[in-house]
Symmetry: C2
Amino acid sequence: MKGSGTQDLIQGLLAGNRRALARAITLIENRDPAARDILRHIYPLAADPAIIGVTGAPGVGKSTLVAALTRAYRARGRRVGVLAVDPSSPFTGGALLGDRVRLMTAERDDDVYFRSVATRGRVGGLSRATASVLQVMAAASFDPILLETVGAGQSEVEVMGLAETVLVVLAPGLGDEIQAFKAGILEIGDIFVVNKADREGADRTVTELKAMLALGPGHPGEDDGHWRPPVIKTVARDGEGIEELIEAIVEHRRFVRASGRTAARRRRLAEQQLWESAAERLVADLQQAAQARSLWSEAVAAIAEGRRDPDSVVEDLLAAVDGRKEASEPQEKGGVGA
Amino acid sequence: MKGSGTQDLIQGLLAGNRRALARAITLIENRDPAARDILRHIYPLAADPAIIGVTGAPGVGKSTLVAALTRAYRARGRRVGVLAVDPSSPFTGGALLGDRVRLMTAERDDDVYFRSVATRGRVGGLSRATASVLQVMAAASFDPILLETVGAGQSEVEVMGLAETVLVVLAPGLGDEIQAFKAGILEIGDIFVVNKADREGADRTVTELKAMLALGPGHPGEDDGHWRPPVIKTVARDGEGIEELIEAIVEHRRFVRASGRTAARRRRLAEQQLWESAAERLVADLQQAAQARSLWSEAVAAIAEGRRDPDSVVEDLLAAVDGRKEASEPQEKGGVGA
């Protein structure tokens, strides 16, 4: 099935070759059919790296923190992958994060791999593509992989679901941001980082954050088998607090693996990936079958003009397409646009 | 097919009854099968209201602006719907927006209908549910409908795609926000509102915004048949600038309807709704067929444990399920989890 080019690529990937990794990621981004072959082969072979999510509002210093973590892991001899995801930018192709990532790559190091992934296509597709990219980075022996995203929208929450440990980054004096956090991101943080902790108000931010965490539904008290998210102060620019942060990450990883949470999270992710993969395949098949008789465009027109609702159009489409496949069964229903 | 309860609900909805509307929306939110019947019947009957999207970062005064617009439209004798969507909150059920909406409803007015919709289920589902809710609000003769959302993530951009005119709201002195806007939300704004314009720095915000708009790829110069997004200053709390804003909304609506952009937007939306509806239906069918032989949970386990990749698992699932339906064809392939 697969060409020798793909086979070489898989070999290169498993040998940790950076160019092979770059090509594989591009194939995934472009939804190239070769990406399927690659994923099929590496899935059972990929290692199990620590995937560390880093999220927070713009301006809190996420990229500086990621750079500091990268240096600290490199000092430990680790091979570090950084994947910057920019769900807020369907138009500019992730330029915001991309630029910063390029700045960081100015220091060349063969054991650090940076990549930014921008949104393509429909919403659910982003976390699916990100999951595949994480898989090829894991196959190329990068561990840990730092997964950086901007903002607090639903896509970001979903992308953060791919991480084993989620760092939520804040900075002092962003009162409104904390308010916004209330609405959702608080529950996904495993570790909270108050960066730029040399600024005025850092202690107040820590205090407010701890108070909110104590109230949060997902974060009960200590000594009950639950993880209690620590709040850690850093000045990422100077590397301050980074060692403490890495210790907390290690501790969290130990906790989730021992408690069976990692297995539960993986099942959830697997179910979601299965859903998305099935949806893409099944709708593509339906679309192709319907397009042959221009039923698909009739269906779109019927909805666009407000004549029909999507669910009943789908029902008719399925009946019409089934009627074609099973030619022995007469097809009585009218056209989709009727 | 449909019970007399559903028939009464449809009648009430078309008569503009608020309780019928509230029940219909709850049925949509809960994915109740009765919602399908309702949508099927009202789709061809619903009017074509102005749908005005209002988006922007927390703290810019979106809700105050929505309240000011509501009062101004009420003064014109219009029946105003407000739909607040909170994609950032999969956990708290949209409490952030919901609370503010409830505050507004303290002033009782039968010709104003407020509702907040929170995220349920998968990502793409939000805009699908929102589209259905807009449809039932339209059927109940609310026009205009103000569609409010928080933030600048991909889900928000998608929800704003349901609006005919998108207002992007900013406030002076939120420099970082403007930076964040660069990354995506700039292109979706049809009208930019600098609210809290009595604050220091309002003119600078307007100047910076205009400079950015002039650079933006989607916003070429005047006199070339393109819409040039105006920048309007408001003090929503005092109703300042609201009349000018409403004029701009009317002008934009006239422009998009005359230029055929509304038709193009509706086709795009219809295609998306069709995709989502088909995906939900087809995956549910596959899941049901696979569950009967516990193939679905085997498939989830194979992905979760890293043994298989999602796409090839889906292929095997389809083959196994087809093999069952067409019993005459022998099924040679192994199980999904093999």
